[in-house]
Symmetry: C2
Subunit: 384 residues, 2 copies
């Protein structure tokens, strides 16, 4: 297996992109990633997408997007792992290059979620959980994460204010991100007074419904300098599954798939949690960021809330988390999220993150989680 | 890259499986494939599925099926390429083993299509084409293939009777396949007198709406004999895309993606079309089998209809095609089809196909096509 580097990144504005269709936004992000490194030829492409079927009635996205990008007849592979579809595209593209099967490969993610009414978006999102044993019984994702939050508060004394602080911190970061859907700050009071969605979670604890796309270009690490003077190497990859239904788990405050995928990635990279300078983790709800910090080993189990309260996860803190604004402020076009996290970490490792730059970031981590933790993919990246 | 072998195969009955859900049938086929080779451990799994979202409201199939198979936390990857999703699962699993990333990998395909009413099935299937520029304008798949058939008749003098002969031959084969959805023979008259679906195609020119699943187990070729005395090596892999919309092609009677994927697979395998002893090709409609025979080089362009009429593609003919009964008689649970083709070819190369055995079959080919040809994957297999 060869070393693999990321040489180009591209992302669209996240938000309600009424004037653009799924194919438009994917191509926009892909062309930006290609321009970013100047490659002349793409040999294969991977597309992460959660549910083009339920959101816009369109599957067969490999063919569609290779076609609209002007790259047919190259092989194009659509992959899906619910909200972790983006990171899955990167992992499979990594394998394609690492194996020597292909040299220059594009990995992108896309979701177009706002072209349907709200009721259908909730129906669509529920396809990431266990339709027969969760959604048909009335449990949707805010409900599942509310159960996790309530249990975390009971077990570890995590407070309602600590949850709110995750949203406040992420909006503070997102306010500095031109691609964010909600690039403005919020206060603890605004979070605590926002509409109840599923007790104890309120509107400002939840990531939004979004449109958006993101892409990266990979090549063998030994060729990276042909295309960029700031390549970033993929040094760790981890991928694990868990029960799809939350009720089937021994402990709902720990994501076993996160622990396992993290372990694989740290081992492959030869680094420990304390070596990570910057991380983008899957904050689909505020509680999810707290659990991820703990399960990835950045803090001890149960101490995530306190760490957020003390500012450890702010830009400039001990372990900066979600400098992009996270899913909360940047937006969460499901299939694009995993690649958008990688775009942010690469931007940080290149020292190009402007006002939200984490100083001296050399090693970064991305954590992308599907459903309530049924699939998790972790990547560790290093500036070379 | 290491050589890769198929060591176990499993398939469910295809049909209207009212008593079983998507997860049930996938697990049934997977357990059969695992039993078939006796592996103790699976390290990763690939799931080909076209639209769990539109057909049963369920995505996140990697997690769901690893969970129900009892294999979580192994990495599980759902891939999609419309009707070529199954073969895509095999190709990506091949890469996983060939790269040395994993040793024992399961590749399966599944579709559960009968739990919704017919109107929705047509809507669902149209997601394999260009929703915005084909389906929204009123063109569904029978319509697209009717255009191809009409043009093929005009260009090459292909007759209505020759199209019917494809269905007659495939039903004759399928009548000998216990897993087939329609295991009975039909006559030319029955085909010619069946209901018009999209002129010139009639009901018995079309593959059905089906439920079903199929799985295979892969390992490095050098380890294959640990698990089976009849391993089959994957000697050729080809994967190509084309425009998703039929109207965007220069020539609608040739699938450029089939030609390109075939070329790649033949080159990798070091064989020519005349070296193929048995083939399973994508006969979603009778005309599709004729085009595939031509595009894969089994006969010259335009001579497919004549070859069928003369019996060259029957079991015992010069180039036996679709001994399983094909999509037409065996059924077409979209995501399962590509793997089911491989199950049949492996069964043939092992000499275990009973009444439908092709004599002395040593090298076989599978051709799995998505949509109207937007994605095509070809595999060449050899008994070792």
């Amino acid at each position: 297996m060869r070393d693999v580097a990321i040489i180009g990144v591209g992302i669209t504005k996240f938000g309600e992109l009424w004037g653009k269709s799924l194919r438009d936004i994917f191509v926009e992000s892909a062309l930006r990633a290609i321009d970013n490194c100047g490659v002349k030829k793409i040999e294969a492409m991977y597309v992460g997408n959660f549910s083009g079927g339920l959101f816009v009635g369109q599957e067969h996205l490999g063919s569609l997007l290779a076609d609209y990008l002007g790259y047919a007849p190259i092989p194009a592979i659509r992959v899906e792992a619910a909200c972790a579809a983006g990171a899955l595209a990167l992992k499979q593209a990594f394998l394609d290059v690492a194996s020597g099967f292909s040299d220059i490969v594009l990995a992108g993610g896309v979701e177009k979620m706002t072209d349907i009414d709200t009721g259908e978006a909730t129906y669509g999102l529920a396809a990431a959980g266990d339709r027969e044993y969760e959604a048909f019984q009335g449990v949707t994702f805010p409900g599942l994460y509310a159960l996790i939050a309530r249990r975390h508060m009971y077990e570890y004394g995590t407070t309602r204010e600590q949850l709110a602080k995750v949203a406040v911190k992420n909006h503070k970061n997102g306010a500095k991100n031109p691609y964010a859907q909600f690039p403005f700050e919020v206060t603890i009071e605004q979070v605590l007074n926002s509409t109840v969605i599923a007790d104890p979670l309120r509107l400002l604890d939840c990531s939004p419904i979004s449109d958006g796309a993101a892409s990266v270009v990979l090549c063998p690490a030994e060729r990276a300098k042909e295309f960029t003077n700031k390549p970033v190497k993929i040094i760790g990859v981890g991928h694990a599954t868990d029960t799809i239904a939350l009720a089937d788990r021994e402990n709902i405050t720990t994501s076993k798939a996160t622990v396992e995928a993290g372990k694989q990635a740290y081992k492959m990279a030869g680094v420990r949690p304390e070596d990570i300078d910057v991380a983008e983790v899957h904050d689909c709800f505020t509680i999810a960021e707290i659990c991820a910090m703990e399960d990835l080993g950045f803090v001890k189990k149960g101490e995530g809330g306190k760490a957020v309260e003390e500012g450890l996860t702010e830009i400039g803190g001990k372990i900066p988390i979600n400098p992009s604004g996270g899913l909360k402020s940047k937006g969460h076009p499901v299939g694009a999220t995993g690649i958008a996290q990688v775009v942010e970490v690469v931007t940080q490792l290149r020292g190009e993150a402007g006002e939200r730059q984490v100083r001296n970031a050399k090693i970064g981590l991305t954590h992308n989680l599907g459903g309530s933790g049924g699939s998790v993919i972790v990547h560790i990246l290093e500036a070379i």
